[in-house]
């Protein structure tokens, strides 16, 4: 198994010298191919900043991030766009689907940006739709779909380009519990069957319990890390809750 993501001692500071906020304070970790990693933390702990740095939406102050061996903190211009479109898949809390396009067109757009031949687009869209069980909503517009359907369409858009890494930012944040469960089950399915590497940010222990490893962040530092191993999801969930209790503070409120 090879390392997909390698984060080396990264720091991210906000503000000026007199009033410095360390959003990320020397974090290092690695993600292997085919892993499903959840990052947990209270609001303000720096988890979203971490995700923004990995997705190149934000720049690190120091340190390096390697994706499949490539240092993405050094990327600029077109290489950056290429990295975003070829290596990464994004899933957002608020779906970020284009409301003017149908589900099919939303998914196809990710391919057409990469200038994929039109002949292939249809085949690949239908294939990914089958994986995520959204064939029957393909011709609908976002406003005609439920939240869970929208998020699965967004997921389909994120994985259709066969990215090395799928980044999910609070993917269940805007979903009810039933839709959340269905979405997470699809994530699991993608991870198990198609070896999709997923890095997910959440503050919800239930969501995190679907991952194979959970990294806890507090005040910009890694606080703890637990692996699921052979445990059942229920046992893993209880273990997460224990750590959250240990973490104390705000995260409790999120439960």
């Amino acid at each position: 198994m090879s390392t997909i993501l390698k984060i080396e001692n990264i720091e991210k500071y906000y503000g000026n010298r007199s009033n410095l906020t360390k959003a990320i304070d020397k974090i290092s970790f690695e993600v292997e191919e085919g892993e499903f990693v959840a990052i947990m933390g209270a609001s303000g702990s720096g988890k979203t900043t971490l995700l923004n740095c990995i997705s190149t939406i934000d720049r690190v102050t120091s340190g390096h991030i390697y994706v499949a061996g490539l240092d993405i903190t050094k990327l600029k211009g077109n290489k950056l766009n290429r990295y975003r479109s070829h290596e990464l898949g994004f899933i957002f809390q608020d779906f970020n689907l284009l409301d003017t396009l149908t589900a099919y067109e939303n998914i196809a757009l990710a391919l057409s940006i990469q200038n994929v031949k039109t002949g292939q687009i249809g085949k690949r869209v239908n294939e990914v739709a089958r994986k995520l069980d959204i064939q029957d909503v393909l011709q609908k517009y976002p406003y005609q779909m439920s939240g869970g359907q929208k998020q699965r369409v967004a997921s389909a858009r994120a994985i259709i380009t066969n990215p090395k890494l799928v980044l999910a930012d609070e993917p269940t944040g805007a979903l009810d519990s039933k839709s959340s469960k269905m979405l997470l089950e699809s994530f699991n399915h993608l991870n198990k069957e198609f070896k999709t590497t997923i890095l997910m940010v959440t503050h919800d222990a239930f969501t995190a319990s679907y991952a194979s490893r959970v990294i806890f962040i507090k005040d910009g530092k890694i606080f703890n890390e637990i692996r699921k191993g052979d445990k059942s999801r229920k046992e893993f969930f209880n273990q997460i809750i224990d750590v959250v209790t240990l973490l104390g503070g705000d995260l409790n409120d999120a439960l």
């Binding site: 975003r84 409301d99 196809a108 757009l109 990710a110 057409s112 039109t118 687009i121 406003y143």
Partner: protein, 694 residues
């Protein structure tokens, strides 16, 4: 005080949204000032009295047009400000949740409007005063006055007028704003940004049917206005109906195309799923659904602009070009001759007038105490004869039916004008026209009014023989030859029949000799003496002193002044309306586009996140805005091709040789103003969607 600060900060903050609005206001103010200041500029010109009369008429017309223009600008400003307010719903929602009353919010808007109003008036007037200096050059050029003593002109009246008119407009804006604010509900304001716009797909079959219907109606309208024979006199009468039909079909065209365009491109998978094309197209079609109406308005406004600008510019050009050709002598006197006693009752002639009509022009001048030898030289006389058996009806031969259709109001029983060849040749010589010779049994036709000439040519081509004063004559030429005997500013000679001298065997006091023309030049070597002689002949007191003498005439100077003034007036009004229309339509589009870009920030950020490059995004944005700007322009240009054809037909007497140049001028205006708005819109939108790095 706090409100004041808030308002000014708001303006600063939303300057991106306001740029185009502000720009348009400044242009509006400047143009309004420039055209109202023309009066003060003409005062400075050293021109003759006759020109003054026309200038006065022109300024009066311009100020009437200004009222119309202020309506257009008023609507534009109110529309634009409503638009900008809608965009700020979220901001108002924040104020309201903080407990700010509606009255205070209105107050904020009130202060904003005042600030923007004062600023735009100030900058606009400054620009207007600067531009009006350029305008005075144009004015001088139009009236062909010398501008050796260039002076800085400033019109206080125009300034005050501009301030008053725009103050009224801003006041109306404030009232509308207050009404709008007082109507809002907090819940609507908060949800304003969350509108999940329903995308309605139109039924493609219905769209196709409507599209075909629209094309058919348009085709019918185009056909009606562009076929200049037979039907076209009815076209002039029905032009209102045709314009209404054209507008309706333009609306239907936009409506159906907005539905069809997407469907058609969607079927072309290769194009649709290439790069960001699907996104761009959806962007356009999602908006075009809601903007069909304004697109129609903009398209029609552009159409009017193109037609008005190009025909008004061409009128001035061809008028000036015509003048040298059409007024070749200094003076032409006309006298009705030999009025028979029997007609006295019918036409109400006095005894004196009838007696006087038996005298020649020379004798009449003597009666008027004007010394012909002292003032005139190169006198040339020509008489007009009529033969009651020779009317339009007989001379037109078989083409009469066609002519009746084209000119239904013409009296076909009125006799044709006949002149002697030798007399015509003398006139032709002084007018620099060609002279001719005829055999004993030949006649020829002279004229310069094109659509009549075309009809006559058809009659001549058939060798229509005519019996004139009892003698049968055949046409020497199969077409009408160019020429005229009456000086005027336009081509108005619809046909004069020239016959050999021998044919006209008419006594000097016979009623068949209807009119006498005397063409002459002034005996003067310099402009001053010329003007003195002109004053002697055009002295208005003569009419009162000698009521029995019916001597009429026209002079080169009179024709010139009237024509120059009319040309200038038409040009100025055309320019004024054209530019205002152009600005209004471009500003409407630009505002719509820019406000959408603000909405689109999230969409573009998302596209960027899934890896679309800046180049792809900018290209998508450019295409989107370009299609929005040039789609209505394209339809407007197609309309204009036929519209201008119709204008040419209407304005035929003014001549049409210069049309190409004026269409070129119009295009320059279009490219400058419309293109300018397009570029500003594109760069502003590009700025709005630019990636903001934290």
């Amino acid at each position: 005080m706090m409100l004041c600060k808030l308002s000014l900060k708001n303006i600063k903050k939303s300057f991106k949204d306001y740029t185009i609005y502000f720009f348009t206001l400044i242009l509006g103010v400047a143009i309004f000032y420039v055209f109202n200041a023309i009066e003060s500029q003409t005062v400075l010109l050293q021109t003759k009295q006759s020109t003054y009369d026309i200038i006065e008429m022109m300024t009066q017309t311009l100020s009437a047009v200004s009222v119309f223009v202020s309506f257009i600008l008023g609507f534009l400003i109110i529309y634009a400000s409503r638009f900008l307010i809608k965009r700020r719903n979220k901001e108002f929602a924040v104020y309201m949740t903080l407990g700010m009353g509606k009255r205070k919010i209105s107050m904020i808007l009130f202060i904003e409007t005042i600030a923007i109003g004062i600023l735009s008036l100030g900058v606009g007037l400054a620009l207007g005063i600067a531009l009006s200096q350029l305008m005075s050059l144009l004015v001088a050029n139009m009236f062909e006055a010398d501008m050796t003593n260039f002076a800085f002109t400033f019109s206080k009246a125009a300034l005050i007028k501009t301030v008053i008119y725009f103050s009224i407009m801003y006041l109306l804006v404030m009232i509308f704003n207050t009404v709008q604010v007082s109507r809002c509900k907090l819940i609507d304001l908060i949800n304003a940004n969350k509108r999940s716009e329903k995308i309605k797909m139109k039924n493609p079959i219905l769209c196709t049917i409507i599209f075909l219907v629209a094309v058919m109606i348009l085709g019918y309208c185009y056909y009606k206005v562009s076929i200049p024979d037979g039907t076209s006199s009815s076209t002039v009468k029905d032009i209102g109906i045709i314009i209404a039909l054209g507008s309706l079909s333009t609306f239907l065209l936009f409506w159906s195309l907005s539905g069809l365009m997407l469907k058609i491109v969607q079927m072309m998978h290769k194009v649709y799923y290439k790069g960001l094309n699907s996104f761009t197209l959806r962007q356009i079609s999602s908006k075009i659904n809601t903007t069909v109406f304004s697109m129609t308005i903009i398209c029609l406004m552009l159409f009017v602009t193109i037609c008005v600008l190009s025909s008004s510019l061409s009128i001035k050009n061809s008028m000036t070009a015509n003048l040298k050709e059409l007024a070749p002598a200094d003076i032409e006197l006309t006298k009705k001759r030999n009025i028979p006693k029997e007609l006295q009752e019918d036409y109400g002639y006095t005894d004196g007038q009838i007696d006087s009509s038996y005298k020649t022009i020379s004798e009449t001048l003597e009666d008027l105490n004007i010394d012909e030898e002292k003032y005139l030289t190169d006198q040339t006389t020509i008489h007009i004869y009529t033969d009651s058996s020779l009317t339009y009806a007989t001379s037109m031969g078989k083409t009469l039916d066609k002519m009746k259709k084209m000119y239904p109001y013409l009296d076909y029983t009125s006799p044709e004008v006949i002149v002697k060849l030798s007399e015509y040749n003398k006139v032709a010589k002084i007018f620099n026209n060609e002279t001719y010779s005829l055999d004993d049994d030949e006649y020829m036709v002279i004229g310069d009014y094109e659509s009549m000439i075309n009809l006559r040519n058809e009659a001549l081509a058939e060798d229509t023989p005519l019996t004139i004063f009892g003698k049968e004559l055949t046409p020497k030429y199969k077409e009408v030859k160019n020429g005229f005997i009456e000086m005027s500013s336009n081509h108005i000679t619809d046909g004069i029949i020239v016959v050999p001298d021998d044919v006209i065997n008419v006594a000097d006091d016979s009623p068949q000799m209807e009119e006498e023309y005397m063409i002459a030049n002034y005996k003067a070597s310099d402009e001053k003496t010329k003007e003195e002689i002109e004053a002697t002949f055009t002295n208005p007191e003569l009419n009162d002193l000698y009521p029995d003498i019916t001597l009429e005439g026209t002079t080169r100077i009179a024709i010139y002044d009237a024509s120059v003034g009319l040309g200038a007036m038409i040009t100025f009004i055309g320019l004024y309306l054209g530019i205002i229309f152009l600005i209004s339509s471009a500003a409407l589009l630009a505002l719509k586009e820019l406000s959408e870009s603000t909405d689109n920030i999230t969409r573009y950020t998302m596209l960027r996140r899934i890896g679309a490059s800046d180049k792809q995004l900018n290209r998508a944005l450019f295409r989107q805005i370009a299609i929005f700007f040039f789609f209505p322009l394209l339809i407007a240009i197609i309309h204009s091709i036929f519209g201008i054809k119709f204008c040419i037909f209407i304005l035929e007497t003014f001549g049409k040789d210069e049309m190409l140049a004026s269409v070129g001028m119009t295009m320059i205006f279009l490219i400058l103003i419309y293109g300018g708005y397009f570029l500003i819109t594109y760069y502003c939108s590009k700025n709005i969607i630019k990636e903001k790095r934290l």
